[in-house]
């Protein structure tokens, strides 16, 4: 394998876990990779973390304009550096930023792209990835006919492990180029929410929640275990939850360790978006609901009764540990 680059993502001096997941997988495959991290200021925690997870080398692309994410600045700086390095593989996390800049970077390299891959194999000169399509109703293998091969990896799928810890760190002055679109302000959500696609645990509600206010039952339960709250399309269309909470084919595709579906019947579009969750729990009044076919654990019952009891049990568990 030629030169392999992992574009690592950091926010406020903390590295995103998916960057470490990718480095861990490369270590398992015996591939030495360079981690490239755009940013500014003290990034020692980030670079330490990348080295600890197997980066043979870490390159900080440094520029004040890269302190905050910007589509064009990131694309330009990454392209300027990477195009001088004869890359054969460029990989990053399929986060909102990764999905935003990677197609532009691929266009600059006049090459193909595979987004949101759930596995990849680098051996010899061959790069082969697998990615879900139709929101996970099926998956396909993708190979690249041109170089570099550019792809992104879905968060939460690959295991994290520490590596050789012997990598070096280098700083390179970056050139963010001309920027025509700028983020002028960011309005945080009123409630601090865990991002669905990166959450370990998701508790989702369907139309049987009956109102936006009732989602509080799920929010309370989620708070006990640091979970994100999701919703079915039916709940979103009924106005009980905003669209950024929607899980499924016209929402987000998620693969948490634990997915708890409350009052969700399990329409094909919803199942497609959450079926790769490691453990699925279904709570539903209707014993015939299709969701039970996919669930590892099922509770036939009224979510308004079961979920608060579950919250209490989880609280007890937390107070014991």
């Amino acid at each position: 394998m030629g030169n392999v680059f992992v574009i690592a993502e950091q926010k406020d001096g903390h590295v995103k876990r998916v960057s470490l997941e990718i480095l861990s997988e490369l270590t398992r495959q015996g591939v030495a990779a360079t981690a490239v991290v755009p940013g500014f200021g003290d990034l020692s925690k980030v670079t330490d973390n990348l080295v600890n997870h197997g980066a043979a080398k870490v390159v900080v692309l440094e520029h004040e304009a890269l302190n905050q994410y910007n589509t064009e600045a990131y694309t330009n700086a990454l392209h300027q550096y990477l195009s001088s390095q004869n890359p054969s593989v460029i990989v990053t996390g399929a986060t909102s930023h990764g999905k935003d800049f990677l197609p532009r970077l691929a266009a600059k390299f006049t090459t193909g792209i595979a987004v949101d891959c759930t596995s990849f194999q680098l051996s010899g000169d061959k790069v082969s990835v697998r990615r879900p399509v139709y929101a996970g109703k099926c998956s396909k293998q993708v190979e690249f006919s041109g170089a570099p091969a550019i792809f992104s990896v879905r968060p939460n799928v690959l295991a994290v492990q520490t590596g050789s810890k012997s990598g070096s760190v280098e700083k390179v002055a970056a050139n963010p180029g001309t920027v025509k679109a700028k983020i002028v302000s960011t309005v945080a959500s009123q409630i601090k929410k865990v991002e669905l696609t990166e959450a370990d645990i998701i508790i989702s509600g369907g139309r049987s929640l009956k109102s936006a206010d009732n989602f509080k039952i799920l929010t309370d339960c989620a708070a006990t275990v640091g979970a994100a709250v999701g919703a079915s399309r039916a709940a979103v269309d009924a106005g009980y939850a905003p669209h950024d909470m929607q899980v499924g084919q016209t929402g987000k595709t998620v693969s948490p360790k634990l997915y708890i579906a409350c009052g969700i019947s399990g329409a094909i579009q919803h199942l497609a978006g959450m079926r790769t969750s490691k453990v699925i729990v279904a709570i539903n009044k209707d014993p015939e609901a299709p969701i039970f076919q996919k669930a590892d654990y099922g509770i036939v019952g009224d979510l308004f009764e079961v979920v608060p009891l579950l919250t209490e049990e989880l609280k007890k568990l937390k107070s014991q540990s």
Binding site: G112, V142, I201, M245, Q249, P287, I299, L310
Partner: protein, 258 residues
């Protein structure tokens, strides 16, 4: 103002996917084809933009085989002024589709380009970025609000960020905006619209017309697979309180996820 909307025809979300014998794709007979749901929001935003500015032409563009003309006609029935079809029987990758779309945008002197944030078949969410970079336009993804300045030189858009945050982005025009559900409510086609769409002349290009006759896809798909079936698990017994207790125990001790 030349408002361009890039659309894709995709299988309806109800579609039960079946893999072809050679595993290089999915069975397409019996599929109900629809406009990619996110592209419907893009069409609506194109029409709304024209209405707000009280001028401009909305042109919809798609790449694909003959059946995709139906998607163009639906967009015209909703109110689009022009329809452009890049006709190809081959399955192209994101790179080549974006190349074709970018060439059309150049021919049409695009002032603003709307498209859906992703197509729900291939889920790449990459076409908008390729097109923007190929045209050297700025771009914004996951857009849920769009305001264009009265002099039409710039747009202020709202982008959905992680964890429910909203980014306000200012961009010069021309630009490519990939829109998300929530930006608007797509209108239904009107009866006169449907009549007009039936007779609408569709401008057609081949890849050769666009100077892409010698270009090939950069990625090769194979080995389509259905996901492994999940075995139905256990239903917990007892009253609600016993079930909740047992669930937490199983998640902790058996599944080890909490």
């Amino acid at each position: 103002m030349n408002i361009i909307v890039l659309i894709k025809q995709v299988p309806d979300t109800e579609t039960k996917v079946r893999i072809t014998a050679d595993k290089r794709g999915i069975e397409t007979n019996d599929i109900k084809w629809v406009i990619n749901p996110y592209d419907e929001f893009a069409i609506e935003e194109g029409l709304k933009t024209k209405e707000r500015l009280k001028e401009g032409l909305v042109s919809v563009v798609t790449v694909g085989p003959d059946r995709t003309v139906e998607a163009l006609r639906t967009a015209v029935a909703m109110g689009a002024d022009n329809a452009i079809h890049v006709k190809t029987e081959s399955v192209l990758d994101t790179y080549l589709v974006a190349k074709a779309l970018a060439e059309v945008c150049k021919k049409e002197n695009a002032n603003i380009i709307f498209t859906g944030k992703q197509a729900i078949d291939d889920d790449q969410a990459a076409t908008f970025g390729y097109v923007a970079e190929l045209l050297q336009f700025p771009s914004a993804s996951v857009v849920v609000k769009c305001d264009i300045s009265p002099d039409k030189s710039k747009a202020t858009v709202e982008q959905e960020g992680d964890g429910g945050a909203k980014n306000v982005i200012e961009t010069s025009l021309p630009a490519v905006l990939a829109v998300n559900k929530g930006i608007n409510t797509p209108r239904y086609a009107s009866l006169p619209g449907i009549m007009k769409a039936k007779k609408k002349e569709i401008k057609t290009y081949t890849l050769t017309d666009l100077g892409l006759g010698a270009e090939n896809s950069k990625t090769i798909d194979s080995d389509y697979q259905l996901p492994p079936e999940r075995a139905a698990g256990k239903k917990l017994q007892g009253d609600a309180s016993a079930q909740a207790k047992e669930l937490v125990r199983l998640l902790r001790e058996e599944a080890k996820v909490i």
